[in-house]
Symmetry: C2
């Protein structure tokens, strides 16, 4: 089994969406596998009194909205900031955790698909029925995915994931860990790639 | 006269130091001139209740210190976080404003030199005598530079610069403006370069 890239993200993070679209391809280039770790930024943010970028003082929020759009264009990806934003993503994260057990080879496909849809067009990202449709469209068991949203096992799994994120010192997304080295932000992918290429610098 | 890149910075900003070392070279590549705008982050931060990265909760401050070091290595530049950090840089900024009038062709050299020294070895960055020595070593009038630090004219000029930064919506450094488009952070240089190369995207 190849070595891993731990990838921590929230489905609602615009910059994580950009990383999500390319991380598996980047990992493959360096013979790595992506270990997908959905979490909830709302939980993580509490530990550093942090806030979503779009809810900061207007001059900052305006810059960040503009930067999200420009960063997406820079990456050649579509981007429309959803309304309302941000939203809770606990059901989406639970479906992702279910997929990690039910169809581990398709986790990347799921995360790429739902984030690309969420940041391209009106989409009910965290709606249980919508999630079921997304999973069904992938040729998987949509009913089982919907059931996972209300299953205490996956609720606990997500709670533990958020606690693990905090214990690892994670305070934002996208957050990537390679051989114990942490990289925060889509704009750190060039450094991450240099790390993968050189074995550390 | 070529078109300009407005470059807003504080001498104490580690990420601005990284930008400072390369911005004039980048500007020349696209037939631009750098318009150096020293400012004080302490003043700018008040308008968004922001704080220096190294003074945030420990888990964030630790990550940022590590990221500063790694980002410098990634750029091939030396970096040692000075102690104490951050410090006020009003005298350094005033000397810079004096240089913009007294020796405009050497402003870039001054900013590169003093930041590289400050982030490489123990250096009295904001000390008036130290600043006089730096200017003298450049073949310029060190006494006049020292006098500028106490001159109400340069004090007012710096105050106005900080007000102008706030009025432009600047809330951090390095901050670059090209044809009205704002880029915040050394990690946005790839986007800035694409903008210069393509005329906007």
């Amino acid at each position: 089994m190849s070595k891993r890239i731990e990838y921590w993200f929230d489905f609602v993070s615009p910059y994580a969406y950009l990383t999500t679209q390319v991380i598996e391809q980047l990992a493959k280039k360096y013979d790595r596998e992506v270990d997908w770790h959905p979490m909830l930024l709302g939980v993580v943010f509490k530990h550093t009194n942090s806030t979503p970028l779009t809810m900061r003082p207007p001059v900052m929020a305006d810059y960040h909205k503009h930067d999200m759009e420009r960063s997406a264009r820079f990456a050649g990806l579509p981007f429309v900031l959803p309304e309302p934003f941000p939203i809770n993503t606990q059901n989406t994260a639970r479906v992702c955790l279910w997929l990690k057990e039910a169809a581990p080879a398709q986790v990347g496909e799921f995360v790429r698909n739902v984030t690309r849809t969420y940041f391209s067009e009106p989409a009910a990202l965290n709606d249980i029925a919508w999630l079921g449709q997304q999973v069904k469209a992938m040729g998987l068991d949509g009913e089982a995915a919907m059931a996972a949203c209300e299953n205490p096992y996956y609720k606990d799994l997500l709670k533990s994931a958020c606690e693990e994120a905090v214990s690892k010192g994670i305070f934002g997304a996208p957050w990537l860990i390679v051989d114990g080295e942490a990289f925060w932000g889509n704009d750190r992918l060039p450094q991450l790639e240099k790390w993968l290429d050189s074995g550390g610098f």
